[in-house]
Structure formats: structure tokens, C-alpha cells
């Protein structure tokens, strides 16, 4: 079936099998390979993107369900001048990534969290990440990164 998804501001239109998962549409049709597949039970969150502004696990959304909708992946986070989003900057500053495989999903989950809860506590951050697994970092620096990014993320949203 024909599916049209706006991805990072660009319309991507393709004829794909009905069962195409959104994550594969993004990786193989839109050629945005940053978003990764880490599991097959909707458990790990590596595939997290924003769908109409809210974090979703793109492995558990059909491309057909995203037809006519807006998706943002980590590749679309930089601002118009190419500067990293405050969350991306904070992940580097706080060493919130090692192998990088969970990172795109983790960053999008963080962006969505700060969108909905601009000044979270540490406990709220940890709880919000229960669906995003990382094997490398132990989460310590990921949490620090998100907490430190909160004020700047808030500012960027209002500007």
C-alpha cells in the first residue's frame, strides 16, 4: 500500500507491504539508519522516535499507522543551523553513550520526557526510561545528561 510519512520535515512516499513496521520504513525507505532495532518484544526502546510529537516504539507501529503523520528521528533534532539539540549536547558532555546503539532511541525518549515534564526529578527520569535499555553505561550518565539538559531543552522549546 501507499504510505506517506513526513520524516524530519520531509515527505517520504512509498509503496510498501502492508506489514511494514515504521522502524523499517525509516531505515530502509527513508534511509535514516540511526534508529535501531534492539529486540522483538517492544521491550528495549532502541527504536524510539517521535510520532506527532510523542515518543513511540517504532517497531510496534505499522508504517500504515504513521501514514499522513509526522515523525522525528534523532537525525532531525539539530536546529536549522545544524547545532545539536541540548539533549544531544548533554549526552556528549556527560558521557551518556558508549557503543551508541541504544542512543538514538534514548535521546528521543529523553526529548519526549522533557517535553512533557520540563523539570523532572532524578526518580522521574529513571522511571521514564524504564522502557529504554542500555547495556554499556549503567544509566548513571544518561540520567545526569537528561537532568542537565532540562533547562536548555525548555528554552529551545519556547523559542
Amino acid at each position: 500500500m501507499k504510505v506517506t510519512v513526513t520524516v524530519n520535515g520531509s515527505q517520504i512516499e512509498a509503496d510498501v507491504p502492508d506489514r511494514t513496521l515504521l522502524v523499517h520504513f525509516l531505515r530502509d525507505v527513508a534511509n535514516l539508519t540511526a534508529t535501531n532495532v534492539g529486540c522483538d518484544t517492544t521491550s528495549c526502546g532502541a527504536c524510539t522516535v517521535l510520532l506527532d510529537g510523542r515518543s513511540v516504539k517504532s517497531c510496534t507501529v505499522l508504517a500504515a499507522q504513521a501514514d499522513g503523520r509526522d515523525v522525528v528521528t534523532v537525525e532531525g533534532l539539530a536546529d536549522g543551523s545544524g547545532a545539536m539539540h541540548p539533549v544531544q549536547r548533554a549526552f556528549q558532555a556527560e558521557h551518556g553513550l558508549q557503543c551508541g546503539f541504544c542512543t538514538p532511541g534514548m535521546v528521543m525518549a529523553a526529548v519526549s520526557l522533557l517535553d512533557e515534564n520540563p523539570s523532572p526529578t532524578e526518580e522521574e527520569v529513571r522511571s521514564a526510561l524504564e522502557g529504554n535499555l542500555c547495556r554499556c553505561t549503567g544509566y548513571h550518565n544518561i540520567v545526569r545528561a537528561i537532568l542537565s539538559a532540562a533547562p536548555a531543552a525548555s528554552e529551545r522549546r519556547s523559542s
Binding site: 507491504p17 506489514r19 511494514t20 531505515r27 534511509n31 539508519t33 540511526a34 534508529t35 535501531n36 532495532v37 534492539g38 529486540c39 522483538d40 518484544t41 521491550s43 528495549c44 532502541a46 534523532v74 537525525e75 533534532l77 539539530a78 545539536m84 544531544q88 549526552f91 556528549q92 558532555a93 558521557h95 553513550l97 558508549q98 557503543c99 551508541g100 546503539f101 541504544c102 542512543t103 538514538p104 535521546v107 532524578e122 527520569v125 529513571r126 522511571s127 526510561l129 524504564e130 522502557g131 529504554n132 535499555l133 542500555c134 547495556r135 554499556c136 553505561t137 549503567g138 544509566y139 548513571h140 550518565n141 544518561i142 540520567v143 545526569r144
Partner: protein, 770 residues
């Protein structure tokens, strides 16, 4: 001021954060444009004879390029016939082979759920899943051998020509005389449970065979070793093989080299002449990638009533899964490190390795050493409880004193340097141990539902156990003054590109931004070893350092020529990378000038650094848990550590390794376990059931600094990658037991799930009431 030891953010990150890494599934190179997808057909049964495979329906499915089974493997040299009694080298991490050998595709028997039986090649991965379902395999079930006890007792043999399911046995622990004269002796059986390494990227490989040459991309921790293995398997000259490690999404020891599934992709690419790509699913990964740990241990510890340990016995049985891929290597390391940081005069160790109808076992973060530490740390707490002494006191009384190094243990390990008591004291002070014990006492007095538990682990571990294999570095300074490092190390998250650039900047004054680090391509780096065993900084980093010093010597000669001065009159200003006559900056020449002047030979150095010995980082972990005694639920509220791996080049990277190790260590203590039913069916075969730890189960960690250099290498560095895992697991397990010890609980096996904790508390209450 040297950049070494300062906090430097990673140069790897901007790319990973904005465009994402390029893992095997992300490769969009021209050679793979037409790549077909590989989907494996795997055994759904734990133990069976294969009586037939019918690929007819599969071959006709949409998009199918080929379906391959053992019948198609006629192009490989068959393995040599089994030799009864082939010598097993316990201390070598090599498959036993012979009577215990493992095929690539299953021949006539399957021995674990997940074992590869056939390969379906399709145009895309969706078609692959469909077609794989159509391959029809007839199985004649055999009794499954599950569990160490069964493996030792059953008459069912996994390998028909062997005498038992025990493939390695070493050491004797029958002499009880070592416990004579002990005021107190404790004995305990302990399970160090099976775990799934579960890197976020599973196994993946892509292969192109063209004009007699194989190009092979693989998610691996060592490209060069992979090439060596491929050369043997495919009968190809290593020069005809190029192995490339792209970005790798974690390994933790389970991606050392390439395993049978990944090797099959290379074989199939040559067989069919079609470029291929294979990316396993998580469910495949949980049964197809090697598992870790899986030991049963019996510890016996005896000592005086004032806390001096006189004798320790460790008897290990290692479940190695269906195929002994690592011979006796893991329990060999466990026995080697059995005594930990303690000065114990009498030690006995023994081990056996058994096969079972489960996923094969291999290295997983710590590889044999977490098992050793978990065993003795549990024993210490049991001994402390037996004599009624605080477990911190017992540890302090028995730690090897700082003036005893180098110290050779009764098990044959020579510890290079250490200050164990200081690490212990630091942690106790930072945690406020006395206050915590007081709070525990108050809660016990009140009979609170939620009790407090404190758990300690003091550990020493062996890093770069294969120091003799060394590591390589090639450093080149170019005519434009920039530098390139070709390292044999193979980072998969460790940040080597940042650290190695720091080393070059520190030694040569070339700014990090001008240093490119390359790894993982056998065409560019034919000679290298790789990243595992926490070896990379102390071998690969030192090799970079030595190559830099070599280049510096060369440059001095060239600069002397340029400046028409004596070499001794020259200095390198490492602040700005300028060669000058001492004290005369006006004479300064840049690295670019010097490299250009060096002419055709350029400024290039190749170093293989292979010190004679491994190093021994150490530390102490303290875990604070709250246990709900009505439900058994455990919450880790604090985790305080001092992990000493000698000289720290970049504290940011070292802390990251400690954090990651701690999380995996805590996960073993509290949550994770890979379980099979009696027929060999995995019960935790998806992430819905395998309890991988999340941020919600962990606190932020409290890391203390400690740097006791080694004299084994010029940087004074040991390895930090696995230390966190080794210290964290027993600290948390001990804390959980400690929380309910006043109720009569003496031991709880890991993972200390709510059900296990409650069962222990109920049982203790019931026997207390009788």
C-alpha cells in the same frame, strides 16, 4: 600540563549522536547493494536426532535465492576424525574439538534450542522469516540433559563416543586436613547463574566473495582473530580475506572472534556467489549468542574465632552448554583468582566442566573472575556470621598487606601492586558504615517491615590475562602535521579513539583534533589482537605511547638535521607541538615541517607491546539495600565503590566503564537469569522474560578515586572494563542476605528475586518457630 588524567569528552560522540553509528545493518557500501538476507532455521528442540530436512516448499517461497543445509557444505574440508583422549589444555580458551567438536550447520543431531540447522537466503528480511517457516525438519527427540546435577549423573551422553558429559576435570579437593585446627568452618553450595550477555546490537555479519577474495564485515571485538578463524574454516589464505569491524553495538566478551552462525554467512557468500547480510533478532540472540557464568560452586572456609582465615576450598562445576567452546578456561581463571585479595595459607581448588543441552557458554564481562569473587565474598560473609564478627573486620584482618607486592597466591597468580585495605577503608568511610549499621540496628529493634542490608565485596582481578599476545600500534605523522594511529585494539564503546588521541597529544603535542585513530580493518591493520579481558589501555594504549616515543626519537634526528643542531640541544614543546633549540622558540619547527623534511621514510613507527605479565586491579564495593520482608522485594538504594586500575588516562571513560560494569553486576545479583525447563526449552527467550536491568532499578553510583600504578607497563595502567561487574555482584548479594540475616537467613542464591527472598525468609521463620 599534560592532558592525561584530565576529563575529556569523547570525539566519537557527535557522529553517534547526530547521524547514528554505522553498525552492520546500517552499511550502505556499494559491495552490499545487492546483498541478500540470511535467515537461519534453528532447532526448536533441546536434544534430538535430525532424521530429515525438506526444503522444497521454502525454495519456492517469494524472494528466495537459496536454501542451504549440511548437504551443501561439500566445499569445505571435513574436520579431522575424532581422536579419543585428545589433549585438553585447560588454560587455553579454545574449543576442545575431537570427540566434542562443534559443526557449523548441524549434521545429524541438535544439542541446543537455537542451534543453526539451515540457512534461507532471500531478497529481503521479511521474506526470510516467511521462508524459514517453510523449511521442514524432522526431529527424533532424545532425552534432554539440563542442569549440572543431571549432566553428571545421567546416562544420556551429548557426544556418543565420550565416556561421560564431563569434558574437563582438574584438581583434587579431598584432603580435609587443611581445616584441622580451625575454630570455625563454614560450607556452602552456591549457584552462579547463567546469564545472557545481551549487547544492544546482537550478532551480525555481511560478506562478499568476489575474484577469489572475501570481504567480511562483522560485529566483532577482534577483526584479525576473525580473519584467522575464517582462513582455517574456509581454507583461504589470510591475504585473501579482509575483515572489517564497523561500529559494534557492545560485545562484553560474547563477540570475541566470530561464531558458527557468523562464519556460515561467509561460507554461504562464497558458496552462492551472492553478497549476503545477516542480522539476528533479539530472540535469536538470547539463545544463539553464547551465555555467561553458569557455575555451581562449593566453598569451604575455616579460620580462627578472632577472624583469621586459615583455609579455603573452592570446588567448581562449570556448565559449558552444548559445546565446550572454551575448554576449561573459565573455571581455570576462577581457580586462579580464587583467593581474591586475601592472604590465605591453605587453598584447594578443583573444577569440572560438563556439557548440557543448552546454549554454549563463553566469556561474559569478567569471564571466570566474577565467579571467583562471588564465591569467596559469600564465604567471607558466612564465616563472619559464624564467628559473630563484622564482615568488614574479617576482610580487613585478612587482606594482603601493601608491603607484600608482588604477591604470589597459592593458586599461582602474581599480583603486581595493590593497597586493598585503603580501598576498603575509603568505601566504608564514604558510605558512613557505622551510621548505616546503627540504622540497621534501629530497624531491627523496631521490627520494621523494610529492613536495611549492607553488603561488601573486596576483590582483585586479572586483566590482560593474555598479556603475552600483546597489542600493536602503528603511528604516522603526516606532512601536514596531523597524525594517524592504526591500533590493534577494537573499541565497541570504550572510547579508544579519544584516549589514544590523548596519548599522542600528551607525548607529541599534536592536538587531539589532528589525530585520527583507525581500528578494525585487517587490510589497514593486519597485525592486531583486539579488545576483551580489559587489555586495551595497558597493551594497545601503551603501544600507542611507545610508538609516539619512537616517532619522537625519529623526529628529533630529523629536526636536528633541519636546525643544524645537536639532538641533545633540541626540545619538543608539547604545549604547541613545536621542535626547537632548547630555550629558543624562534627556532621552532612544526610537526608538518619535520615530517616533510623526513622525506620518503616519513615519521612512522610500529610497536608490538607484549609485557611479560598481566595486571591486577582491585577494589571494594559496598551495596546498601532495602528489603521488604513481607514481599521479598529488594531495592538497591546506594552503591559505593573504589575501583583501582592504576593510572587513569581519562576519568570520564574510566567512570563510564565502572558504571556499566556495576549495572551488569547488580543485574546478576538481583534480576537476571537464563532459565530452561527440563526438556531444554528456554523460559527466558525474549526480553519480555529475561529481566535485563533498567534505569528504574538502579540508583546513581558513588565512585571514589584510587590509583595504585603498576610497574608492568610504562603508563602504570591496569584494566578497568570488568572490575565493576566483579565487585558489584557479590556486594549486592551479600547486602540482601544481610538485610534478613537477623531473621535466620544465611544464604540466598542469585538472582535474589522477590520470590527467592520471600522463600528464604519464610523458611527461616518456619524453622525458627520449630
Amino acid at each position: 600540563m599534560s592532558i592525561l588524567g584530565t576529563r575529556v569528552v569523547r570525539t566519537e560522540d557527535p557522529r553517534l549522536l547526530t547521524a547514528g553509528g554505522t553498525y552492520v545493518d546500517d552499511l550502505r557500501v556499494p559491495e552490499l547493494t545487492d546483498a541478500a538476507r540470511v535467515t537461519f532455521v534453528r532447532s526448536p528442540i533441546g536434544h534430538a536426532r535430525i532424521t530429515g530436512i525438506d526444503t522444497t516448499a521454502a525454495r519456492e517461497a517469494p524472494g528466495v535465492v537459496a536454501v542451504l543445509t549440511i548437504q551443501d557444505m561439500d566445499d569445505l574440508v571435513p574436520p579431522p576424525p575424532p581422536e579419543p583422549g585428545s589433549e585438553v589444555i585447560e588454560g587455553a580458551p579454545l574449543p576442545i574439538g575431537g570427540l566434542w567438536s562443534e559443526p557449523l550447520l548441524a549434521v545429524d543431531r541438535v544439542r541446543y534450542v537455537g542451534e543453526p540447522v539451515a540457512m534461507v537466503l532471500t531478497n529481503d528480511s521479511y521474506q526470510g522469516e516467511d521462508a524459514a517457516e517453510l523449511v521442514s525438519v524432522d526431529y527424533e527427540p532424545l532425552p534432554a540433559v539440563i542442569g549440572i546435577g543431571t549432566a553428571l549423573e545421567t546416562e544420556t551422553l551429548l557426544f556418543e563416543s565420550t565416556e561421560s558429559n564431563c569434558c574437563v576435570a582438574s584438581g583434587e579437593v579431598t584432603d580435609d586436613a587443611i581445616f584441622d585446627g580451625c575454630d570455625a568452618v563454614i560450607k556452602q553450595t552456591i549457584v552462579n547463574q547463567r546469564l545472557a550477555p545481551m549487547p544492544m546490537e546482537g550478532r551480525a555479519a555481511a560478506a562478499v566473495f568476489s575474484d577469489g577474495k572475501l570481504t567480511y564485515w562483522v560485529s566483532t571485538q577482534n577483526a584479525q582473530i576473525t580473519r584467522f578463524i575464517l582462513s582455517g574454516v574456509l581454507g583461504l589464505d589470510p591475504g585473501a580475506i579482509r575483515v572489517i569491524a564497523p561500529d559494534v553495538g557492545g560485545g562484553f566478551g560474547a563477540k570475541v572472534g566470530a561464531d558458527r552462525d557468523a562464519l556460515l554467512v561467509a561460507w554461504a557468500a562464497r558458496k552462492t556467489g551472492r553478497p549476503l547480510r545477516w542480522v539476528e533478532t533479539r530472540s535469536e540472540n538470547l539463545v544463539g549468542m553464547t551465555h555467561g557464568r553458569a557455575q555451581e560452586q562449593t566453598v569451604t572456609m575455616g579460620g580462627t574465632s578472632d577472624g583469621r582465615i586459615l583455609a579455603y576450598r573452592l570446588d567448581v562445576v562449570q556448565d559449558t552448554g552444548a559445546y565446550p567452546r572454551m575448554s576449561g578456561f573459565l573455571p581455570f581463571l576462577t581457580k586462579l583468582m580464587a583467593v581474591g585479595p586475601y592472604d590465605i595459607p591453605n587453598v584447594q581448588t578443583a573444577s569440572r566442566v560438563v556439557v548440557t543441552n543448552t546454549t554454549p557458554i563463553s566469556a561474559y564481562r569478567g569471564a571466570g573472575r566474577p565467579e571467583a569473587t562471588a564465591a569467596i565474598e559469600r564465604a567471607i560473609d558466612l564465616f563472619a556470621a559464624e564467628i559473630g564478627m563484622d564482615p568488614a573486620e574479617v576482610r580487613r584482618k585478612n587482606l594482603i598487606a601493601p608491603d607484600k607486592f608482588p604477591y604470589t597466591t597459592p593458586t599461582g597468580a602474581t599480583y603486581d601492586s595493590g593497597d586493598y585495605a585503603t580501598a576498603l577503608d575509603k568505601v566504608l568511610a564514604a558510605a558512613g558504615y557505622g551510621e548505616l549499621r546503627a540504622e540497621q540496628a534501629r530497624r531491627r529493634e523496631r521490627g520494621d517491615v523494610v529492613q536495611l542490608g549492607l553488603g561488601l565485596a573486596s576483590y582483585v582481578e586479572i586483566t590482560a590475562a593474555d598479556a603475552a599476545a600483546g597489542e600493536t600500534a602503528r603511528l604516522e605523522v603526516h606532512d601536514d602535521g596531523k597524525a594517524t594511529v592504526y591500533t590493534g585494539s577494537s573499541a565497541h564503546g570504550q572510547g579508544h579513539h579519544t584516549a589514544w588521541a590523548m596519548l599522542v597529544e600528551a607525548d607529541l603535542g599534536i592536538p587531539m583534533a589532528d589525530v585520527t585513530v583507525i581500528h578494525g580493518d585487517t587490510d589497514l591493520i593486519p597485525d592486531g589482537v583486539g579488545t576483551y579481558a580489559s587489555r586495551s589501555l595497558q597493551l594497545g594504549g601503551v603501544a600507542v605511547h611507545q610508538a609516539a616515543l619512537d616517532v619522537k626519537d625519529q623526529a628529533r634526528r630529523v629536526a636536528a638535521d633541519m636546525l643544524e643542531a645537536a639532538e641533545d640541544d633540541l626540545e619538543l614543546n608539547t604545549e604547541n607541538g613545536s621542535w626547537q633549540v632548547r630555550g629558543d622558540p624562534a627556532t621552532g619547527r612544526s610537526w608538518g615541517d619535520v615530517a616533510t623534511h623526513a622525506g620518503e621514510d616519513g615519521l612512522v613507527a610500529f610497536v608490538r607491546f607484549a609485557p611479560g605479565a598481566p595486571t591486577f586491579p582491585f577494589g571494594t564495593h559496598l551495596a546498601v539495600v532495602e528489603v521488604d520482608t513481607e514481599t521479598g522485594k529488594v531495592q538497591l538504594t546506594r552503591h559505593v565503590t573504589a575501583d583501582d586500575a592504576g593510572t587513569v588516562i581519562n576519568p570520564v571513560l574510566a567512570e563510564g566503564q565502572r558504571h556499566g560494569g556495576i549495572a551488569q553486576g547488580v543485574a546478576q545479583a538481583l534480576l537476571e537469569e537464563f532459565i530452561y525447563d527440563a526438556d531444554g526449552n528456554p523460559l527466558t527467550g525474549t526480553l519480555a522474560d529475561y529481566a535485563a536491568i533498567s534505569a528504574a532499578e538502579l540508583p546513581s553510583f558513588e565512585l571514589l578515586q584510587s590509583e595504585t600504578p603498576t610497574n608492568i607497563n610504562p603508563l602504570g595502567a591496569k584494566g578497568i572494563g570488568e572490575a565493576g561487574t566483579i565487585g558489584a555482584t557479590p556486594a549486592v548479594q551479600n547486602a540482601v542476605v544481610d538485610a534478613v540475616s537477623h531473621l535466620g537467613v544465611t544464604h540466598i542464591d542469585m538472582p535474589t528475586t522477590p520470590a527467592r527472598v520471600w522463600a528464604a525468609v519464610s523458611a527461616a521463620r518456619e524453622s525458627g518457630e520449630n
